[in-house]
Symmetry: C2
Subunit: 162 residues, 2 copies
Amino acid sequence: MTRDTPQQRRRQLPTTEELRIWRDFIETTEALRSVLTSRLQSESALSPGDYSVLLALSEARDERMRSSELAAHIRWDRSRLSHHLGRMEKRALIRRDDCATDNRGAEIVLTPTGAEAFHRATVPHLRAVRELFVDALTPDQLATTGEVAATLRAHLRSSRDM
Amino acid sequence: MTRDTPQQRRRQLPTTEELRIWRDFIETTEALRSVLTSRLQSESALSPGDYSVLLALSEARDERMRSSELAAHIRWDRSRLSHHLGRMEKRALIRRDDCATDNRGAEIVLTPTGAEAFHRATVPHLRAVRELFVDALTPDQLATTGEVAATLRAHLRSSRDM
DNA sequence: GGCACATAATTGACATGTCAACCAGATGGG
DNA sequence: CCCATCTGGTTGACATGTCAATTATGTGCC
């Protein structure tokens, strides 16, 4: 057993047990993400990024959205989105149209190919989420996990604004 | 309120509420990782990858470790590790020595520069973990989070082995 | 010894992410 | 009208991650 240092006892640093939980938490979410990513990849040839973009577009009015709006919606910065859209456009999953009301702007449009790929991906993906996340937990655990996520998010926001 | 589809009622797919929790969970862990990463970066000029490697090496006997051992320890595949070590070696954070007992092998050695960088990084990083994760949660929530992580991990392992 | 096979690690090609610099079109004040 | 400034979006450079192929060495078996 490792003894906590004096600093840790004064609670400036996590205790050994807190640190163990942290590492467990972060590694587990990493592993979960990685399994879901590889399933999505092998079942639909889509990356999680592709999936987010296609999901947002397929829920958008007319299956089209201004680029910055899309970025805000999925919480990406514009540069990341622009690079990703470039790759998706090459695969014909989306198209960039000029924007009628702002000559600088771009409208990102879901193509039939993109819509088709998204529809093929969605059920298997949701099933995987169910199998690997929802079904693994008791209803209580699931509810607490939701609360924990909300709490962490609120805490993050407040510490960012300071 | 969206009504769940018949499929969802038959519990093949997550319900709307379950899906909300899932998205909240995954986005929150993403946000948390990203904030911690940028703090680590700005305080120590180290990436999370650098930190993992340096942590493992600094805990290793003689501050050195065989490459595959290191990879297994931090759960990376060897290719990823090899690329990363190449970048770290350029920055003199680690060194690759030939292995005395296996001519194919490499011993990864912590350099003084690497040790110094790690020591500068560790306290601020742990403080950030405490501030952004541990302190945000009640002791109960923290304990449950640990259990959830363990449960998810076990479930993942069992579904991978099938 | 020598060959089939396993193992350690690296490499190359490519997808993804971040950051800062950039370009062009809007916009508001003089 | 004109310039300063803001905004929408792209680009380039580079860090990181994944996958498959490659190189070199060890190991067991005849």
